[in-house]
Every structure is written in C-alpha cells, then in structure tokens.
C-alpha cells in the first residue's frame, strides 16, 4: 500500500493522535482521489435515462467497481465521488460494495453542475482535499502500478513547484478499437523531460498549431498521434485554484489542459506519463465500451480478469478461447461457441444457439436456435427462439420475441419488448418510458411512440432519437458499438479560404500542402480547359496581350496552380 510521504506538500491530515496531550501529533498524508461519477455526456441514451453511466455493467460488473479496485490496489485511502445525475443509486451501490471497507468513500452531490469543471469547483468549495490527489473518471479501467505514477509526480513536484499535473497516456494507434470514436488527439511533448506542450483533440480542425517559442525552449520535440488520454491525472491543489479562477472552464481536456498549456504567464507545466505495456482506458462512448469489454475478456487488463472475481462477488471460471461461465451455467453441446463469451449465473441457453463473442448477464433465458453475435445482454432478459441479435446492447429485462431480429448497433433500454417476427433496424435506440420536460416536445414524443410501435409491435415503446436531445442526425450513428468507417479528418475544402491566403503569400509549394490527391488531375484538366477557353476568347475578340495575360492570371488564382505550369 503506497503511503504518501509528508515532504512539505501542503497541509497534512493527522491520521493518528497519540494519547497524551503533550505529545506531538503524528501527521501522515493520506492519499486522496477524486472520482468523477458523471461524464455529463449523452452517448449512451436511452440506457442512461434512469441509471447512471458508472453503474452500467461492463462484462456484467458495474464500471465503477473497476475504478475503485484500481484505486484501492494503488493505495488510495479516501475517495470523493462526485455525482450529479442519479446520485441516490450511486450512493446505495457504494454503501453495499466491499470497497467501503478498504477506503473511505464520500459521495458528493454536485447540484447544478453541467460539466466536469462545475463539479470540481463544487468540490473545491468544500475544502476537503489536503494535498496532491488522483483525479480519475468513474469509468476508467486500468491495471497500472499507481506507485510509479505517484513517485514520478512527487519527484517532478519537488524539482519545480510549477509542475502541477501528470497525465497518464497510453500508446494506441489511431483507429485502434479502444480509442473513442471522436478521439483524434495530437500530442506534442518535449522528448527529454516528457513535458506536455500541446494536447489537441479538436474534432473540427485538421491543423495543430505549435508556437515557435516552445520549440526554442525545448530543442527536442516529439509529435505523436498514437497516444490516448486515459483520464487518470495526478494533480496538485493548484489545479482546483485554476478551475475556480476560470469559471468558464467546462471540459477537462478541452478547457483545463488547453488553458494550462496555453498560459505562458503563469508558466504551469503538465507532464505526460506514457505507458505501453500496462493497460488504462476510459469508456467514452459505445464504441470504446464495446472495445474495452473485449479487452477485459481477452485479458489485456490482467489481473483484472473476470475469473479472478476480483471486482465483484462473481463466480466465473475460464475455459479455453476466453469463455467465462459462472457457477452452474451449462451451455448445451449443440450450441456453436466461437470465442470471447461470458455467461452469468442462472442463465439458460436453448439448443442449437450460435454464441459469438457475446456477454450475457444473469438469469437470462435464451430460446433455442438463437443467434447472438457481438452483443451485450444484461440481466433478466428473455430472447425468444430463433431470434437474432447482432452488435447491440439489450438493457435489463428486455424481451425479444420469436424470430425477431435486432439489427447491428442498436441500444435497447431496460424493459423494452419486441414482438415476434419484427426487425429492429440499424442504429435504433428504443426505450419504454420517456418523459418530455418541455411541452414543445410532446408531439415529437407522440411521433416517436408511434414509430416505436411500428418497429416493435408493442404499445408504449418509444424510439429515442437525437432530435430529442437537439443533436445532429448522424451524431448517434457515429456513437454506435461498431462504427463502420474509420476516423475521417475534416476535408480541406472546408478550410479553403484560409488556404488560399497562405498560397497567395507563398506562391509555391501549394501542391505539397494540399494532399487532395484525388481531386488534382481533375482540377488540372478543368484549369487547362478554362485557360484554353480564355485564350480562344481573347483571340476571337482581338483583345490586347496584356488583358489576356490578366485573365489567365485570374484563372491561375482560381485554381492556384504552380507558376511554372503555364
């Protein structure tokens, strides 16, 4: 158990008090952690309408258990869990779980918080943090040795008081399945000291800007695109002070990290701790949820694997090809099992089923001949004979009728029923109870209930669309379990105006910066065509040479070709 050394880093909390009053109080700094139990995002709706995201099961265990296990085995003694939505459920879960005996867990209700920044500001007002603390999201799964990160952070703090944060970053190639769907971080850091210079995760820009003065101060700079932010930060108390000062800082990555790195006046520094062999990842959206489930099943998070029954009171045993079954589960011989399957206690599986990389909760009844591929089925579901579920998440208590099919990338909320012979198409999100807060949403709600009835054949099922949240149509399509496309950078066309200015100024190497390889030959042809037409017009109209040259010049500017070309 790592105990933090005193070392003059802020006030210490006295852990032991000796009996006699005359003796000195022994001061020991207890390692504290702040757990953000609310991600303030909506990608998992409708599963998270009535239940907090951190209590959603990941391989049949609530996500927050993994984070608590990580903190407990790292030697954290006191945890402040910041909740906003569904705080009562989080409170009752934490009361029952065994981590309450290993660490002191305080649940803090952050009223009126709309972002991580707000929640942390709320915590700062309570003045409970005494010295450097670990800031972590409630949906982080990790097996790293916390001691290493803490030692590094303390060494950096000792060297310079301005080193206020250490971020843990994991190596994962771009388009790796564990990275979030919108994760396109470009990280720039000093190679020798691993000090972070730029952390750019903007979704709408294809450029990262680095100030030249930074390069002057740090002669060896490395640009990396294969680092994933794990949302494990070791922070000094200065971070909270900065958040209180800048009360418009909402998101940790976009506002806090960027704000600290951009501010040269204060000169605060953030360092990166890069891990390759160990595992750390955050569940950001359904894509990373699906990927991290697969990572846990494929044992990348060793020793937090299901059959060690470490994170919850489960009773799994593992068989070859990563098949995990709890006590008493029997899968009939006639079923086809491929690999990566998890089956919870009390589940009955019918004859002739096809199980392919699926996670099945407890007390699920699966009829004969079902086909379950790459899906997550929570507790108490019932799946009729010959049904087909592909790449979807079925919430608690969902009933699927005979020969129904639930298409790829669906999210079915708890209690949804689908009649027999129905097909739920791709990207559908269904839920049972949805209360519209505003009146202007009532007719939208009625339409969605009607559509829900069309799809499932059951009254009372509502289709949860992005319109209900005022989001784009394709916002939910990108946030699905298995997005089809790879990460797309915004096209250069959108930034054309900016481009043109640069080109006019340089006049050369415009082609190199384009990279719009496919468009080029076509553009060239069009340019040549227009040039020829201009010359023709000039000759026909007997215009002077200068005016033709001028016209040709404008054509050149329109297509920004090289000067040598013509």
């Amino acid at each position: 158990m790592a105990k933090k050394k005193g070392g003059g880093k802020g006030k210490g909390s006295s852990k032991k008090k000796s009996g006699a009053s005359g003796e000195e109080l022994k001061q020991e700094n207890v390692l504290q952690a702040v757990l953000l139990a609310d991600s303030f995002k909506t990608c998992f709706r409708p599963l998270t309408l009535k239940k907090p995201k951190v209590l959603m099961p990941l391989v049949n265990v609530p996500m927050i258990n993994y984070t608590l296990e990580f903190l407990a085995s790292g030697g954290v003694k006191e945890v402040f869990v910041l909740c906003c939505a569904h705080v009562e459920q989080v409170r009752s879960h934490l009361k029952d779980c065994s981590y309450g005996r290993m660490m002191k867990i305080h649940v803090v209700y952050c009223e009126n918080s709309y972002s991580e920044g707000d929640a942390l500001r709320h915590l700062e007002q309570m003045q409970v943090l005494k010295s450097d603390f670990v800031l972590i999201g409630g949906d982080v799964i990790s097996n790293i040795e916390m001691k290493e990160v803490l030692d590094r952070h303390h060494a950096l703090r000792k060297r310079d008081k301005l080193n206020i944060m250490t971020m843990v970053l994991k190596c994962a190639e771009p388009n790796h399945r564990t990275r979030g769907a919108a994760d396109r971080a470009v990280v720039v850091y000093d190679k020798d000291t691993e000090q972070l210079l730029v952390f750019d995760n903007k979704a709408d820009s294809w450029k990262t800007e680095v100030d030249v003065t930074l390069i002057n101060e740090h002669p060896c700079v490395e640009f990396r695109h294969d680092l994933m932010d794990t949302h494990i930060y070791v922070c000094a108390l200065d971070i909270l002070d900065l958040l209180t000062e800048n009360f418009d800082w909402q998101d940790l990555q976009r506002d806090l990290v960027k704000g600290v790195l951009d501010d040269f006046v204060l000169g605060n520094k953030i360092h990166a701790h890069i891990i390759t062999g160990e595992y750390a990842a955050r569940v950001q959206d359904p894509k990373s949820y699906h990927a991290i489930s697969r990572d846990v099943i494929q044992r990348w998070t060793y020793p937090m694997v299901p059959e060690y029954n470490l994170v919850a009171a489960t009773s799994y045993t593992v068989f070859r090809h990563n098949i995990y079954k709890e006590d008493g589960v029997q899968i009939p011989q006639s079923c086809t099992q491929t690999c990566d399957i998890v089956v919870g206690k009390g589940t009955e599986i019918g004859e002739g089923c096809i199980l392919d990389k699926c996670i099945i909760g407890r007390n699920v009844k699966i009829g004969k001949g079902c086909e379950l591929r790459r899906c997550h089925i929570y507790d108490d579901c019932q799946i009729g004979p010959d049904a087909r579920v592909v790449s979807s998440v079925l919430g608690k208590g969902v009933r699927i009728g005979t020969r129904a099919s639930v298409g790829p990338n669906c999210l079915l909320g708890p209690g949804v029923k689908v009649n027999g012979n129905r097909a739920v198409d791709e990207f559908a999100r269904l839920c049972v109870e949805f209360d519209a807060d505003e009146d202007d949403q009532t007719d939208l709600k009625d339409r969605m209930y009607k559509r829900g009835k069309e799809i499932t054949g059951i009254e009372g099922v509502c289709v949860y669309t992005p319109e209900l949240e005022d989001l784009d149509k394709d916002a939910y399509e990108t946030f699905c379990l298995e997005p089809s496309g790879e990460l797309v950078w915004p096209r250069k066309d959108e930034d054309e105006d900016e481009d043109e200015d640069d080109d006019i100024l340089d006049g050369k190497n415009a082609h190199d910066e384009k990279g719009k390889g496919v468009g080029d030959p076509e553009q060239k042809k069009q340019f040549e065509k227009e040039l020829i037409e201009t010359l023709h017009r000039g000759m026909k109209g007997n215009l002077s040479v200068e005016s033709v040259v001028l016209e040709a010049g404008t054509v050149k500017l329109t297509y920004h070709s090289l000067v040598e070309e013509y």
Binding site: S73, C171, E173, D226, T276, Y308, N309, C339
Partner: protein, 361 residues
C-alpha cells in the same frame, strides 16, 4: 462478502478477519506470487488463527480452518500450494489431537498413526479421537510447533533437495533443463561443486525468456552451459542423457503441472527414451487429480506475445497459457526433499500429509 453473523465469524475476532481478508485480496490481486511464498503466507496466517482464535472444541478449529482455507484457495485457483498448506494444517490438527488424547494420564510421547490401512480395518484397531474434545493450551502449542516446522521446511527446501544431486548427476552427463527454476539451479550447482564434468543445455522458454537468466547463473557457477531455443529441444534430445526440470505442482496421479513448454520437452524425452526427472519440494504435492491441459491452467497476459497498441490486435485472439500438464507416463522420477520416488508411488505419500476428508476443501 459480509461478515455479520456470529456463525460466520466462527469464534474469530475482527483483527483476525481483517488479516484473512487482506491476504485474500493480496492473493487475488496477484501481489503474492510464487509457490513457496503463497504456502508460507498461508501457513503463517493459519498459525495465527490457531493461536489466537477462540474455539470450544477441536471440531470448531477444523471447521474454521476449512472455511478460511476454502476462501484462500478460491482466491488463486491455480496456486495449488495454498490448498496444500490448508490440508496440511488440518492433518496436523487431527494428528495432534489424537496424540494428546492417547497421552492422557501418561507422560510418554506416543506416536499415533492415523492413516487408514487395510490391516487396521481388519483388526479394528483404527485410532480415533474425540472431536468434541477441548482445545487446551498444550494442543495449541503442539499444532503451532508443527506449523512452524513446516514453514521452516519450505524455507530450507533447496538445502534438503540438493543433497540428492550427487546420486543422480554423474561425470560426462548431458542434462537438459527448461527456463529458470531455483530448485534445479541449486541441484545442479551442488553437483558442480563435486567437480564432476557435466554439461547443461538450457532451453530459453519463451515468452518470459528466463532461460537466459538460468544460463548466466549456471555459467557463474562454472558449469558448462549452452542456451538453445525451445524448438531445438527435440533435435538436441538425441545427445541428452537426462532432463531435469522444476515444476509448479505435482498431482495425485504423479502428473505434473509445469511451466508452459515443458510438455513438449517431456514428449520429446519420452520419444527418445531419455529419463525425465522432476525436482520439487513436498509442499507442492497436491491430492487432486487432473487429466487435461485446462483444469489447473492460468491464462496469462497477452501483452507478453502481442503489443496492444497495434491496430490489428482486434483481429487476433491471443492465448498465453501459463502451465502445461505432463501425464505421469512421461515422468521417470520425482526427487523431493525426502528422496526420490516414482510417479506411481505419489499416492502413498499423500496419506502421510493429508487426510481424505480434506481433499475437497
């Protein structure tokens, strides 16, 4: 698990339960690994329970130890020495109670043999002891002493085994070994001290490659060593005299749970009719049977073989088993700290250490 009930607590106070829970957690989190370490920690905890727990009768002690032992063994199912230690302690408790009972009234030290043999059944002379008997101080002391002796045995296992090496390693021998095993290292270095010229081939044992460490250690002790790849084991078997390996556990049928890769070497040795010798301490002897590769196997971290950060990792399924099961037909000799035995004799040794009632914890 909630520890509310008086029944559940079984006469053990909260400080003891917190010790039990912390050991259980450390075993689950794989902070304590290694057969000898796990065995010693378990024995020390059980000794603490026997000395500090409040028990009304011998039966209570046995039930409490069984319950605790079951939890600890479940914390790390592939580390069989935990269960072995628990069974040993139960056997010691029964043995000690029977001795104390026999000793009542007399001052002689009586040697009681509780093993069930056919002779005893025929003559009806099986010694029993009263389960309801009180747990007095001298009984506790006896059990504690025996447990301490066991702990010392485990800590000095290398010293006890290496005396047998002069019988088994002769001049001009060519020995093949696999990976790094402290027992084998001590065994071979003792023979090296006798100034017998013998040669050792060490298979590097992927993916941990601790064969490299073994080769350097042997070379430091002035033994002629050659490092080979695992795949070369079959090819080299033609020139090898004997194979000596260490093991993770010994099963009741004489089979071995050894490191991954040992089964290949055993099969190659069997094919070439080369003697396959296993050296291990008696604490690794387990009364359970297993006949396939998966029963006592642990699938380890796939990062030892494939790097996580590469994108194609999602298309590849990695299996990294930690252990191999070697059937008893392929093992020629088992050398323990009590001498050499053939695998078919192991079941008799079990009777000295464990009682049949405890095989299923």
């Amino acid at each position: 698990a909630q520890m509310g009930d008086k029944d559940e607590k079984m006469g053990l106070s909260s400080p003891i339960w917190s010790k039990i829970e912390s050991l259980e957690l450390a075993l689950k989190r794989r902070k304590i690994v290694g057969s000898a370490e796990c065995a010693v920690e378990t024995l020390q905890l059980l000794r603490h329970i026997v000395s500090k727990g409040k028990f009304n009768s011998v039966d209570d002690v046995i039930q409490a130890i069984k319950k605790v032992g079951k939890r600890l063994a479940a914390a790390n199912r592939t580390q069989l020495t935990i269960g072995n230690s628990v069974r040993r302690v139960l056997h010691m408790i029964r043995q000690a109670s029977a001795e104390i009972e026999q000793q009542k009234g007399t001052n002689d030290v009586v040697d009681v043999d509780l093993t069930r043999t056919l002779v005893k059944v025929m003559e009806n002379s099986q010694e029993e002891f009263d389960l309801k008997m009180e747990v007095k101080k001298d009984l506790r002391q006896m059990i504690i002493d025996e447990i301490s002796e066991s702990v010392e045995d485990i800590q000095r296992v290398y010293a006890h085994i290496k005396v047998y090496s002069e019988n088994h390693i002769h001049a001009k021998d060519v020995i093949l070994t696999l990976g790094y095993s402290t027992t084998v290292l001590h065994f071979l270095s003792e023979a090296g001290k006798l100034e017998r010229e013998f040669e050792v081939f060490v298979a590097e044992s992927a993916p941990s490659y601790d064969g490299h460490k073994m080769a350097t250690e042997l070379a430091k002790r002035k033994i002629e060593t050659t490092l080979i790849t695992d795949s070369a084991a079959f090819a080299m078997m033609g020139v090898v005299n004997k194979v000596i390996i260490g093991t993770h556990a010994v099963l009741a049928n004489g089979g071995l749970i050894a490191r991954s890769g040992a089964h290949t070497v055993a099969a190659a040795a069997h094919h070439h009719k080369v003697p396959f010798i296993c050296v291990s301490g008696m604490y690794k002897l387990c009364p359970l049977f297993g006949f396939d590769q998966d029963t006592f196997n642990d699938f380890k971290y796939p990062g030892e073989i494939l790097k996580f950060q590469e994108k194609f990792v999602e298309k590849v399924n990695v299996q990294n088993p930690g252990h191999d099961y070697i059937p008893p037909q392929q093992v020629s000799l088992l050398i323990t700290n009590e001498g050499g035995n053939s695998p078919s004799y192991i079941y008799r040794l079990l009777a000295e250490y464990y009682d049949v009632e405890d095989y299923d914890l």
